[in-house]
Structure formats: structure tokens, C-alpha cells
């Protein structure tokens, strides 16, 4: 027997193919975003014995990440819109419908179209719901005048905000109402401020941005504020909650924000990012707690309220991890691996979670926050690995900023391929 045959034989003995060939199971995934699409693709790549069905109402997916670059004029909406054809080609059954209810005991999901789908394991990645009315006057009708552009849907909200910026006169004021924690994409509002500023600097340099915040601190704050001072001097005013930054009422007709202490701000363009909860199906299935989000097992991401249902993406409570696309991706893989292990009667794999959030703040100017996370020894909570992660260094570091902008673009290309390719 020659060397290559011997290597082949050795390899075959360690291969778990025989065990896998005996198993067949149905993995049902609700939601085709960063959590759900990742789960579907990863499941088909890694566990070919799983029958994978993905339920997603939209026929294409507009990413929340890089939406701010559309607002700044750096990308077109088509650049951030993805098809489900790649997942179909991988053997995922994609059903375009709304999941309206989950019967955890019968292991069954009802769809709006009347169909009902059984499962052996469910991955629920439904995303967020906006809390209409949390700011007085801010409802779905108001969002047609004061867009949120925070749940991209078919991209209409992002394009509406972009058109409003284009139509605004030079010298106008763009207002943003920014929520308290927790919310989807913690650095997102501040990247948005930066990308709008980049557009205004080029086309309407006398304009201002007024960012009214329900918080007193934010993600990568020092790095953002350094960049704003360097790139957009005098253009951006950020008002924290303790300086009356909390918006409590909006008036779309008058184009006004009103703050906690009654200050009224007249605006030319108004972007309201409202407070959020887990998407409705998570609550109706009884998976959320009083916070409106879903507590999960730190190793398997099964809902505390229902084994067999793994909840990933922005709908869950991810401990110290942010509600980011990268966290949805990394936890979706662990959830699928845990589901596959359970279906084979094996223990869940050891977990390590990873996040990088890049933000673009100007031309060739990117910044990031990195985190590596693990369940604690008792597997009761997720903790950040000490002495790892953190934000980009501060200071005048043009090469660092240029590289991070490049890496951000690479991240977007790679992660969307990991989801949809």
C-alpha cells in the first residue's frame, strides 16, 4: 500500500460519515437575515443529512450593515441587496411567507398562507420590532415623513431618507433621535451621522447635524468624536441625555423633535431610531421576558422558555455581546452545531463567539470594536475573554484608518457570501 492510500485509510477511520449517514432530521429556520441565512448555509455545508427549510417573507434581503453608506452616497441599494438563489442552490428549501405562530410542544410552525411546517429543531432569527409609540407621535404613518431606516425591509426607508437628504437645502438641519440601550447595531447611529456628514460636506457644507441621544455614552465614542472633529469640524452636535438629548415627542407636520425638558428642535430632515424589542413572533411564542427580548442558553442558544428552539440574532439577550450582524453569524453557527449534536444524541460543542463591528466615518477612514466571548465556567452567562478585543487605537493613525476601511469592505463581501453564497 503506498503512502497516499495509507493516508486515505487513516482518514476514513476518523471520519464520522457512517454515523451521519444514519441520521435524517428537519431543521426549520425562521428569518433569512444575518442569523437565519447564516444558519441555513452553514447547516447545508456542514451537516448534509439535515433537511433545511428557511421561512422568510421577503424575496430578497437588504442588509442593515452598509445602509449608512447608501445614505452617504457611497453605495447603491442594489449593492446591499441579496438573493436567496444561492441558498436554494445549496439545497435549502426557501419558503417566502410569514411565520405567524409556533407550537413548541407539537414542533410545528404555522404560516400566514395556511401551510404548517413540522420540525425536529427550530432556529428562530426573527430580528427586531420597532416600538411604535414609545416616542409620542412616532407611528408607522410618521415614519413616511420621519424615516427610521433601521429595519431595511425592501430598502424603501433607506431610500426615503437618502432622497430627503438630497432634497434638503444647503444650510439645513438633519436631526437624529437615538435610543437608549439595548438596540440593534450600537455603533450604527454614529456611523450614520458620519456618512450623512460626508455627504453634506461635499454637497451642502453649511448644513448641520443635530444628534439627540437617550444615552450619555456610546460605542467607539472617542474614536467617532475624534473623527468628527478632524473631518467635519463644526458640523455635528451630539446632545447626550443629561443635556436634554432624550426625544420624547415628534411632530411630523411641524418637522419638530421635542425633548424631555420641552425643548423643540425644528428640522429639515428627521431620522427617528426608535426603541426596539424582539420581533412579535418571539413574544407570541412566549419566549421573551419582561425586557421584551429572549433569554437564551449561553452554549446552545436555546430559548430559556423552550428547549428545541434556538434563538439567534438581534431578538435575543446576548449577554455582553452587541446586537450585530457578526454576532448573529457566529452564534447561528454555534446554534446549528448544538442542534445537530442534540439530534445525534451528542453534547453541544464548546462555544467561542466572535464580533467585529467596523464603522466607516469618512473616505478611507474606518474604525472598529472587536470582542471574543465564551460561556463562563458554569455555563450560566457569556463573558468577554479578558485582555482581548477592544477598540482601534486613538491618535493620528492614517494607515490604521485606511486599512480598517478596506477591511470593513472585505468583511461585508465575505460575511454576505458566508450567508448567501
Amino acid at each position: 500500500m503506498n503512502t497516499s492510500r495509507r493516508a486515505l485509510l487513516g482518514a476514513a477511520i476518523t471520519a464520522p460519515a457512517l454515523v451521519q449517514a444514519q441520521t435524517q432530521a428537519r431543521l426549520l429556520i425562521i428569518g433569512g437575515g444575518f442569523g437565519g441565512a447564516t444558519a441555513a448555509n452553514f447547516a447545508r455545508r456542514t451537516y448534509p443529512w439535515l433537511q433545511v427549510t428557511l421561512v422568510e417573507p421577503k424575496t430578497s434581503f437588504v442588509t442593515c450593515p452598509y445602509g449608512n453608506l447608501v445614505l452617504g452616497g457611497f453605495r447603491q441599494i442594489g449593492d446591499i441587496t441579496h438573493s436567496y438563489d444561492g441558498l436554494r442552490a445549496r439545497g435549502v428549501t426557501v419558503v417566502h411567507d410569514w411565520a405567524t405562530g409556533i407550537d413548541a410542544n407539537a414542533r410545528n410552525v404555522r404560516l400566514q398562507g395556511g401551510q404548517s411546517l413540522g420540525y425536529d429543531r427550530l432556529i428562530l432569527s426573527p430580528g427586531i420590532a420597532l416600538r411604535w409609540g414609545a416616542i409620542e407621535g412616532y407611528d408607522e404613518a410618521a415614519a413616511e415623513t420621519m424615516p427610521h431606516a433601521w429595519v431595511p425591509g425592501d430598502g424603501a426607508q433607506t431610500l426615503l431618507l437618502r432622497r430627503q437628504l438630497e432634497a434638503m437645502p444647503d444650510g439645513g438641519v438633519v436631526g437624529l433621535a437615538i435610543p437608549g440601550n439595548p438596540f440593534r447595531c450600537p455603533p450604527g447611529p454614529y456611523e450614520r451621522i458620519s456618512m450623512i456628514a460626508a455627504y453634506l460636506k461635499r454637497h451642502k457644507p453649511r448644513s448641520k447635524i443635530l444628534a439627540l441621544d437617550a444615552k450619555e455614552a456610546f460605542s467607539k465614542q472617542g474614536l467617532f468624536q475624534d473623527a468628527w472633529a478632524a473631518l467635519y469640524p463644526g458640523m455635528i452636535e451630539w446632545v447626550p441625555a443629561n443635556r436634554d438629548g432624550r426625544v420624547v415627542r415628534v411632530d411630523p407636520r411641524a418637522m419638530e423633535f421635542e425633548t424631555e425638558f420641552g425643548t423643540r428642535h425644528k428640522l429639515d430632515v428627521a431620522n427617528v431610531i426608535p426603541a426596539q424589542t424582539a420581533a412579535r413572533i418571539a413574544a407570541s411564542a412566549g419566549l421573551t421576558d419582561n425586557s421584551g427580548w429572549v433569554p437564551v442558553n449561553p452554549v446552545t442558544f436555546e430559548a430559556r422558555a423552550a428547549a428545541n428552539i434556538h434563538v439567534v440574532g438581534d431578538a435575543n439577550i446576548p449577554g455582553p455581546m452587541p446586537k450585530s450582524g457578526f454576532v448573529a453569524n457566529t452564534t447561528a453557527k454555534q446554534a446549528v452545531a448544538s442542534a445537530a449534536a442534540a439530534l445525534r444524541g451528542e453534547a453541544a460543542p464548546e462555544a467561542v463567539y466572535f464580533n467585529t463591528c467596523y464603522s466607516h466615518v469618512g473616505d478611507d477612514y474606518g474604525i472598529s470594536v472587536v470582542g471574543v466571548f465564551r460561556p463562563n465556567a458554569e455555563a450560566t452567562a457569556i463573558v468577554e475573554v479578558p485582555n482581548s478585543g477592544g477598540v482601534s487605537p486613538r491618535g493620528n493613525l492614517p494607515e490604521q484608518r485606511r486599512l480598517e476601511a478596506t477591511y470593513a469592505d472585505s468583511w461585508y463581501a465575505s460575511i454576505t457570501r458566508d450567508m448567501f453564497g
Binding site: 460519515a17 453557527k333 486599512l403 457570501r417
Partner: protein, 95 residues
């Protein structure tokens, strides 16, 4: 012995999970370095690189002995065993 070999070859070919998939600890690498670590835009290729070279690179990032944009912050979160398993996987991938 000769008779068994085609059957074994078929078994290996039918085992894509074992043969082709990155270990869980290396999955996050793919989200920037591309499918199989083959590189993406300005992010370097990992596929087909020498295992020992990759392990040494990660050790240098961890120890702050090599200038890093973000890899220092990343590698300090991973164990030596995770880095070794990831390097093993990437070293076996085609460029």
C-alpha cells in the same frame, strides 16, 4: 486489502463535513478572510499557507511582537489549541 480501498475512497468522498469544513473556532475567520480563508479584497489569504508559519504569526500577534491593525485584539481571545486547529484547517485548503 486492495479490495477495500475503493470503498474507503467512496466513504471519504462522501464525508464533506469532515474533509472540507472549518472547525467552529475558525468559522469567524471566514467572515473576513473569505470562504476557506482564501482572502478577500485587502484581507490576506490564509488558504494553503504553512501550518507552523500561521501558528507563529498568531503567536506574534498575541504577544504584541508584530504590528497589527486588528489581529492583536483578536488573537488574544483564542487558545493555543484553537489557533493550532485553525492553522491546521487553513494549511489544508487550496489557494
Amino acid at each position: 486489502m486492495r479490495l477495500f480501498i475503493p470503498a474507503i475512497a467512496a466513504l471519504v468522498l462522501a464525508a464533506p463535513a469532515w474533509a472540507q469544513n472549518a472547525p467552529l473556532a475558525a468559522q469567524a475567520c471566514l467572515s473576513c478572510h473569505g470562504a476557506n480563508g482564501a482572502g478577500q479584497g485587502g484581507v490576506p489569504n490564509l488558504a494553503g499557507r504553512d501550518r507552523a508559519e500561521l501558528v507563529a504569526l498568531m503567536a506574534a500577534f498575541r504577544a504584541n511582537e508584530r504590528p497589527a491593525t486588528i489581529m492583536g485584539r483578536i488573537t488574544r481571545g483564542y487558545s493555543e489549541a484553537e489557533i493550532a486547529a485553525s492553522a491546521e484547517y487553513f494549511s489544508r485548503q487550496g489557494r
